[in-house]
Every structure is written in structure tokens, then in C-alpha cells.
Symmetry: C2
Subunit: 178 residues, 2 copies
């Protein structure tokens, strides 16, 4: 056996996650990634056919991490408090891991994205009084994602969002109850 097995898909994805976390999406390049794993770039193609599939794997890791964090915050809370807690965690993740957060939309939704979706739906049910209220989940997710994205892009300027998050979240939840 000339070349012993040194790689596996999960280890590559984890190393890719670190590159993105530290330097953003553009920092995910094959040569540095391979170097961080002690191999040469072409070896990676045995596990991921192209760079795009690597991005998808990083997106899945990020979605899983976010879903874990949100689920952790939900525990021990109910109703509106639970909903605000997971919403706040969505925003906290976008602030603490902006590069990984941005990767969430870089790939087509995978299984972990479904978990995020189900978390939102479950948390909304006691607030709107309806099970599987897809429209409400779309609305809440849109608000959360938009706020996080605009804030990360610096679009709120020097004056900041000026309480727009709290005001919008309260208004949206109140309106969804109607």
C-alpha cells in the first residue's frame, strides 16, 4: 500500500469550516485546506467533486451548530419566552459567527435546514395557536434573517438599528396572533 488513508469526508468538512470561520467564504480554497490536513489539493477531489460541494458541507455543519444552539436556548422556556429565546439565538449566531452564518444561504437547504424550520414551527404554535403555521414561520424567519443580514452588512449605519429588532419582533408576533 503506497499511500495510506489519511482523509475522510468529515475531517475535510471540519477543516473547511475552520477556514471559513477564520477568513470568510473566499478563504475556503483547496490548497490551504489540503495543507491544513497534511495532504495535497488533488486528494480532496476523492471526497468532494468540487468546491461547491465543500461549501455545502460547511453549510450543513453551520446549520447543525445553529440548530443545536437554538434548541439549547428553547429548553426550560415556553410560549413567547421560548420563541424570543430561539430568535435571539439566531441573531447571536449571526453576530458570533458571521462567516458561518453567511454560508447558511450559500447552499441548497439540507436536512439540518429542515431542523431549523421545524424548531421555528414548533415554537410558533403556542404563540399563534395554529399547528404547522407555515406562513407565520416564513414571516418570522424572513424578519430574523433580514435583520441579521442587514446588520452584518453594516446597512444600519453608525446610528445602529435603534431598537428595530425588539420593536419588529414584538410587532410581528402581536400581528401574527390576530
Amino acid at each position: 500500500m503506497a499511500y495510506p488513508l489519511r482523509l475522510d469526508a468529515a475531517a475535510i468538512a471540519a477543516a473547511a469550516r475552520e477556514l471559513v470561520r477564520a477568513g470568510g467564504r473566499q478563504a475556503l480554497s483547496l490548497r490551504p485546506l489540503a495543507a491544513s490536513l497534511g495532504v495535497r489539493a488533488p486528494s480532496l477531489y476523492r471526497y468532494y467533486p468540487d468546491r461547491e460541494s465543500l461549501e455545502g458541507a460547511v453549510a450543513e455543519l453551520a446549520a447543525a451548530e445553529l440548530a443545536d444552539r437554538m434548541e439549547g436556548k428553547r429548553k426550560g422556556r415556553r410560549g413567547g419566552a421560548a420563541l424570543k429565546a430561539i430568535a435571539g439565538e439566531y441573531l447571536a449566531y449571526s453576530r458570533e459567527e458571521p462567516a458561518l452564518f453567511a454560508m447558511l444561504l450559500a447552499a441548497q437547504p439540507g436536512p439540518e435546514s429542515k431542523r431549523l424550520w421545524n424548531l421555528l414551527l414548533a415554537a410558533l404554535e403556542p404563540v399563534t395557536g395554529r399547528a404547522d403555521d407555515t406562513a407565520a414561520a416564513v414571516a418570522l424567519w424572513s424578519f430574523l434573517h433580514g435583520f441579521a443580514t442587514l446588520e452584518a452588512a453594516g446597512q444600519f449605519g453608525a446610528s445602529g438599528p435603534r431598537g428595530g429588532y425588539e420593536r419588529g419582533l414584538s410587532a410581528l408576533l402581536a400581528g401574527l396572533r390576530l
Copy 2:
């Protein structure tokens, strides 16, 4: 005069806009851009020091176009109808020009971004009853931008947003009135 002036910053930006429009942000590369203007790539550096500044110029063009469209829709309408019209136009722009829409966040906000902001604030005033209601504008913009972004990224899946836009917009406006 050996080399007559063939370029100017506005013409370069307009050609760059076309490249982005047709092929997305990655399609904005210097050689094709220069070729579309009948010059060689290095000539562009006299007007834009790097690719990033070109992206900023394209973002400004996109913001101006979007603001024009929103202002056009606002005319002849008042109150909630005017607000829903400009919100709908924001969404329509993201659907018709997805690549240019994505460029809006690629650069730091410029003067045209301020115009968009002021449009939102003015349209919100008769709805919330408050002048310069920054928090309300942040909330509405977040919802609009998030919905447009998630939809463009295919995050709503095959079933689509299921009325989440209409539901969220109505709920948010109702809640902001309180």
C-alpha cells in the same frame, strides 16, 4: 494626442452593471469588462483602484434603480396602499434582477441607500403615525430583505413561501400601529 480618452468612470460602471446583471457577481471580471468597452484590462485601474470599488459602483447603480422604481410605484398612492406598493416593488426588483439585488449589500451604503431609507421612513409615517420612526423602518426593511433573500436562495423549498409574505407584511404593519 496619441490615446484619445475612451473611458470614463460612469461608462465602466454601466458596463460592469451589465456583466453582473447577466451573470451574477462572479461575472464581474476585468478582462471581459474591458473587452466590452474595447480596451484592455489594466486600463480600468485608472478609474477604479480595485475590483471592490467597481462592485461599489455597481451597487450604487442598483440602489438608484431600485429607489427610482419604488418612487414610481409610490406616486398616486397614499397610506397603507403606498407602503404596500413600495414594499412590493422591493420584492419585484429582487425577483427581476436577482444579481443586482444581491449587489446592494456587497458594498458599504452610499447616497442611494440613504434614498431608499428615506422612502421607507416617509411611507411608514402615515401608517404608524410617527415621523422618523427609525425602529419601524428597520423592522420593515428587515422583513422585506429577509424574505427576498431567502426566496432567492431557494430556502423556502418546493412548497414555496405559502403566503408568508402577505401574512408577515400585514402582521408587521398591524403590530407597528399599536
